[in-house]
């Protein structure tokens, strides 16, 4: 009786260990999560004031992993008017959401979105601070340029933002339009503060 029990036990355990071993092998040989480009449209970045008055209003928070506008602390980037925040560092003004994460951003210029594969070096990543935003504000400085004659805000082509998410993962983002429904020919009358952007989220920290 004991002999059979021990044999069975040994057989079972060897089976378990073998399968466990196989499982371990499978985990090591698993392919990285494939990164697909997603597009988020009409993210409304409402703002009150501006144009000489102090700006106000709530920032619209967004999470790359959830591909959605969020309201909690699990946000990666936040939008209000033309200002974009990351969830890392320190706030500059008092009406900003608190920074609860490891967020930062590296700004690449002169690259195509599809060409951005490797995560930039750590030294290129900047967080928001009490003196400056990581994504600078003002025409030509950050993500857009403003034409003072036509009054059109155009997202600069070739600018890709590699964002370190609040939990240390990476996403690359490219802003496409600031106008509602992203028309090909926006005019002064087109509604603004509606972001359309491409992004790709890479949860395992390897290449995009």
């Amino acid at each position: 009786m004991n002999k059979y029990f021990i044999t069975a036990f040994l057989a079972l355990s060897s089976l378990v260990f073998t399968s466990c071993g196989n499982d371990d092998d499978n985990t090591l040989n698993q392919q990285p999560v494939s990164v697909e480009t997603q597009t988020f449209s009409n993210l409304f970045a409402n703002q009150t004031g501006g144009q000489g008055e102090a700006p106000g209003g709530t920032y619209t928070k967004f999470s790359f992993s959830q591909n959605a506008v969020v309201t909690g602390d699990d946000w990666d980037v936040a939008f209000r008017g033309t200002t974009i925040l990351v969830n890392g560092g320190a706030p500059l003004a008092t009406d900003e959401p608190a920074r609860t994460g490891l967020g930062a951003v590296a700004i690449l210029s002169g690259v195509l979105f599809n060409e951005v594969g490797a995560i930039p070096a750590a030294s290129m990543f900047v967080q928001d601070s009490a003196s400056a935003y990581a994504i600078p504000t003002g025409s030509g400085n950050g993500w857009y340029s403003y034409n003072s004659e036509t009054h059109i805000i155009t997202a600069m082509a070739g600018k890709v933002f590699v964002v370190k998410t609040h939990d240390g993962k990476y996403a690359k983002m490219e802003i496409l339009s600031y106008y509602k429904d992203a028309p090909a020919n926006p005019t002064q009358e087109t509604e603004t503060r509606y972001y359309k952007f491409n992004f790709a989220y890479q949860p395992d920290g390897t290449t995009f």
Partner: protein, 698 residues
């Protein structure tokens, strides 16, 4: 309205009928090639024999065109494009260079008043123009700053005949435009002169009916120019000339949904005193003193009548220039030397203090004919300035007559444009949009103070230690002329390379100014480069004494070489976004179109016909401008082939004139006969402008 017009004509006719004089009415035929041309060398030359590219618009051509202002007649010339400036003024592009780079002279002395760098050509009436001389290519070797693209010299009429004579004219046209001219010439032996007066009024025009603001608001202006000459002897002649100009314009603005009304006023005076002395058959000298003052002010009031401070500005500029010139005849050559100084002050809104510019200059030029067929022109000018580094501007031009009909010419010259008052002293804040602009010389002290107060964060690596340099260019021309019998043609290849263009850049950011469109503080720096090159060609055919035609064409490329390098090296300028698919792609260097507002092709055709039996003058001008880019649309900040372009367009101007009863001349016509408009993109074309004019010569 109609009665007013008739009263005006009637009164002027009555006033001058007492001075009736027998005068044969010549038909008006343009003969520009025979004219004396002085601007290229400051001496009497002939346009035909110049080693430089030049053009003349004579008074017959201006008369037949039936236009009012300088901007209108220049717009019809090959290679010149008028472009709208702020507030409805008109600037001029020459060889693809911006309107800030052409020097405008009247009787050889410069006009000032470029509050934003550009010169509004509609300030000058054509009523007393004898001819307009245009020199293309860098001419700083004679004229100093601003003569980078070229020089336009407006030469006003002077009396030719003994006795008293003159003319009066009245022209009425579309948009309630009135133009009244009166000239009186007098000559009695050694004493002669002319008094000219012009009054111009228009209701302006409105291309965008959606708002209460007009594209160009109503304005009127008056020009009075008396000139007096006295010949002490054959060898000593005195010329005095004073020009007074006043313009009033409506000024309206809509800010934050409040409609402000107000006005603007310009007052200008140009005074010139010159003594020409002929010392011997070989040497003569000119002593010249010139002073000019240009003042403008504008104000805005809200509907309750309170002054709106931000919209109320003033500008007050003085220039004093004495200059001495000497011309020495050395047989085969003519040596010209000049020395002078500029004392210039500017007091304006957004300047902390009165700005003063002080410069001295000396120039020399040798106009040499070693053989009958060869002409060499060499010159240089040295300018010493109290605010920026000194400039040496050389020039060399050669002309060789291969045969009686065919000649070649080539020239090379250096041009520069000094940093202007605004680039050095500005202190301007646009509260609505949020940005501030600081002149280079005042930026350091203002920024240091703001930084100490914790208001700004300065951009790293930017200081204002070295003085701002002048914008400078090198210009090359190579051309050929052919003239035989009824036909003449000329072609000129040109190349300009301009460096140290002054452009704005961000020097600091304002803290606690988020949410505004633009929280940057700008100053100026020498950064840009521009290259313009192309070909200009003109041909004239004189079918008969009464029928001639001219055609002109210019091919122009105007690009920033730094942008080309950036595209080649994979920089930001080389990536665009297709607005339909939102895909970003890389473009090639050949996709870069060039600078905004430059057309690759411009052309014109002019036909002058006089009906022999009746002496009716028919003048037809067709002007074409090919497509050009205005704004970047696809996100790379430059104009490329994938951007939206303003479509090319053609303007047709027709005028018909008829001499009547020996002393009268009636003219009618339409500019922009086919009523071309592009309200959204071309603000300086109001639509068809018909007109009717009556002139009385006595």
């Amino acid at each position: 309205m109609l009665l007013n017009k008739f009263l005006a004509i009637g009164c002027t006719l009555l006033c001058f009928s007492a001075f009736a004089q027998e005068q044969k009415q010549d038909s008006i035929k343009p003969e520009p090639l025979q004219e004396v041309f002085i601007t290229a060398t400051r001496t009497n030359r002939n346009l035909q024999s110049l080693p430089l590219p030049g053009a003349v618009i004579d008074s017959a051509t201006i008369m037949r065109a039936g236009v009012n202002r300088l901007s209108e007649i220049l717009a019809e010339q090959t290679g010149l494009v008028t472009v709208p400036d702020f507030g409805g003024g008109e600037g001029l592009q020459m060889q693809g260079l911006d309107s800030a780079y052409t020097l405008i002279l009247i009787d050889g002395v410069p006009l000032v008043g470029r509050s934003a760098g550009t010169f509004d050509l509609s300030r000058i009436t054509v009523g007393n123009i004898e001819r307009i001389e245009i020199v293309k290519g860098a001419s700083s070797s004679l004229y100093g700053s601003e003569a980078l693209a070229g020089v336009i010299n407006i030469i006003t009429k002077k009396p030719k005949k003994e006795g008293i004579n003159g003319s009066v004219s009245y022209r009425y046209g579309a948009f309630d435009t009135h133009d009244l001219n009166a000239t009186v010439n007098f000559k009695k032996n050694k004493f002669y002169g002319t008094v000219f007066a012009n009054h111009f009024a228009t209701n302006g025009y409105d291309l965008d009916k959606r708002d209460d603001l007009k594209t160009v608001e109503a304005y009127n202006n008056t020009t009075i120019q008396p000139k007096v000459y006295y010949d002490f002897t054959n060898n000593l002649k005195l010329i005095t000339s004073v020009r007074l100009y006043n313009q009033k314009q409506d000024y309206n603005s809509s800010i934050d949904n409040i409609f402000y009304t107000g006005g603007g006023e310009i007052d200008e005076i140009n005074a010139q005193l010159r003594l020409d002395q002929k010392w011997s058959s070989r040497f003569r000298a000119e002593y010249e003193l010139y002073a000019t003052n240009y003042q403008t002010s504008q104000f805005l009031e809200d509907p309750a009548g309170n002054t709106y401070e931000e919209g109320s500005t003033f500008y007050d500029q003085w220039l004093l220039r004495p200059e001495l010139r000497g011309m020495l005849n050395l047989g085969k050559g003519l040596l010209t030397t000049g020395v002078g100084m500029n004392y210039e002050t500017l007091n304006r809104s957004y300047f902390e203090n009165l700005a003063i510019f002080n410069s001295q200059y000396v120039y020399t030029q040798y106009d040499y004919n070693p053989t009958d067929k060869l002409n060499i022109l060499a010159g240089a000018r040295f300018d010493n300035h109290n605010q920026y580094s000194s400039q040496l501007s050389p020039k060399l031009a050669v002309r060789y007559d291969l045969t009686d009909s065919f000649s070649l010419k080539t020239s090379m010259g250096y041009g520069y444009k000094a940093p202007d008052f605004r680039q050095l002293y500005f202190d301007f804040n646009n509260a609505a949009v949020g940005y501030t602009v600081l002149g280079y010389n005042v930026a350091e002290s203002i920024l240091s103070q703001m930084e100490a107060n914790g208001q700004i964060q300065r951009e790293p690596g930017i200081d204002f230690v070295k003085p701002l340099k002048a914008e400078s260019s090198i210009n090359y021309n190579f051309g050929a002329n052919y003239k035989k019998g009824k036909f003449s043609v000329d072609a000129n290849l040109f190349y300009n390379t301009i460096t140290n263009l002054i452009d704005t850049r961000v020097v600091a950011r304002k803290l606690n100014a988020e949410g505004t469109q633009n929280n940057s503080i700008f100053s100026y720096r020498n950064i840009s480069k521009v290259q313009t090159y192309g070909l200009e060609s003109n041909a004239t055919y004189k079918f008969t004494d009464n029928f001639s035609a001219t055609a002109g064409y210019q091919y122009l490329i105007a690009k920033n070489p730094t942008t080309i390098d950036e595209i080649k090296n994979g920089g930001a300028a080389g990536i665009i976004r297709d607005p339909n698919t939102n895909q970003t792609i890389r473009i090639k260097t050949s996709d870069y179109f060039g600078l905004p507002n430059r057309s690759r092709h411009t052309a014109n055709l002019k036909i002058y016909y006089t009906v022999p039996e009746w002496k009716t003058d028919i003048t037809l001008r067709v002007i074409y401008r090919s497509k050009y880019g205005l704004n970047d649309k696809n996100g790379n900040g430059i104009i490329d082939n994938y951007d939206d372009f303003v479509e090319g367009y053609t303007l047709t101007n027709l005028s018909v004139g008829q001499p009547v009863l020996k002393k009268f001349y009636i003219q009618a016509g339409a500019n922009n006969l086919f009523d071309f408009t592009n309200a959204a993109q071309v603000s300086n074309i109001p639509g068809r402008q018909w007109f009717a004019k009556l002139q009385y010569n006595f």
